[in-house]
Assembly symmetry: D2
Amino acid sequence: MRGYSTDKDGYLARLRRVEGQVRGLQRMVENDEYCIDVLTQIAAATKALQAVSLGLMDEHLKHCVAQAIAEGGVAADEKVREASEAIARLVRS
Amino acid sequence: MRGYSTDKDGYLARLRRVEGQVRGLQRMVENDEYCIDVLTQIAAATKALQAVSLGLMDEHLKHCVAQAIAEGGVAADEKVREASEAIARLVRS
Amino acid sequence: MRGYSTDKDGYLARLRRVEGQVRGLQRMVENDEYCIDVLTQIAAATKALQAVSLGLMDEHLKHCVAQAIAEGGVAADEKVREASEAIARLVRS
Amino acid sequence: MRGYSTDKDGYLARLRRVEGQVRGLQRMVENDEYCIDVLTQIAAATKALQAVSLGLMDEHLKHCVAQAIAEGGVAADEKVREASEAIARLVRS
């Protein structure tokens, strides 16, 4: 079972809200709303996505990575390397 | 007319693609897909939103801010202050 | 005169503080201090640099860009393009 | 032994380079150099600090966190929680 399954409903609810925000952004652009207001709304959607990422990463460390480490061997190193790469993508996005 | 109207269709197309990515994220979570793959997809959606923000900010400077400066007066200072605050939100989100 | 000269002393004071933080980081690594504490201190230095960037960008828009726009012509477009590229670097760094 | 000790010299060398960059920034401001050039140099220093953070976090996961997980118990949960908080600070800085 995947780690994030422990709060699957929470993640789905948050992603549906982001979907609503992105649809709202399309309406704002459609209606020529003021750039700064559109930018504020994009920042809100970005922050919401970031919160989902940080939650998933926390669960990934707690479950997948911890399990691989507990089992030991090459898989553990691989999981840590993979997590570090994902953290780098998160920081740079 | 709002500045971003010059490439309204481009922004709408990009936002529709982000909406699709966010719906894809919901399916991924629904299907318990691997955390790292979900994180990669969130990074892609975040980068796409960021690109829209940078495009809008560029047009905002070119049109709204430039026009306010050309007209002079208090409105110009206000527009620059507002743009600087939006840049700060962009950098911190 | 460059725009940021209006608060030159403030910027210099902040940069000297960042220099002190970076020297502090070297001592921390030298003394094998705890990774998480080192990371917290790096985040503080990064935020301080970011604040300097946002201040400089604000002054740049207020002075250099505004002046170029007021004078009109090709220089104005060039200044806005240059500012937008700097904003993109700021957002992505 | 702290995890990052495995590449202590590398981290020290990188931090000394950042210190040099921050001193260079002071000279640039002192000499009223062009804002955009100062911003470009700040972005370089920020990226260098970020690279140190990502390296330290990778080693932290590989060593401190992995060891705590291998030993099990409450310390492991605590280490993962602490790492997740540090990742969040990294993403938001």
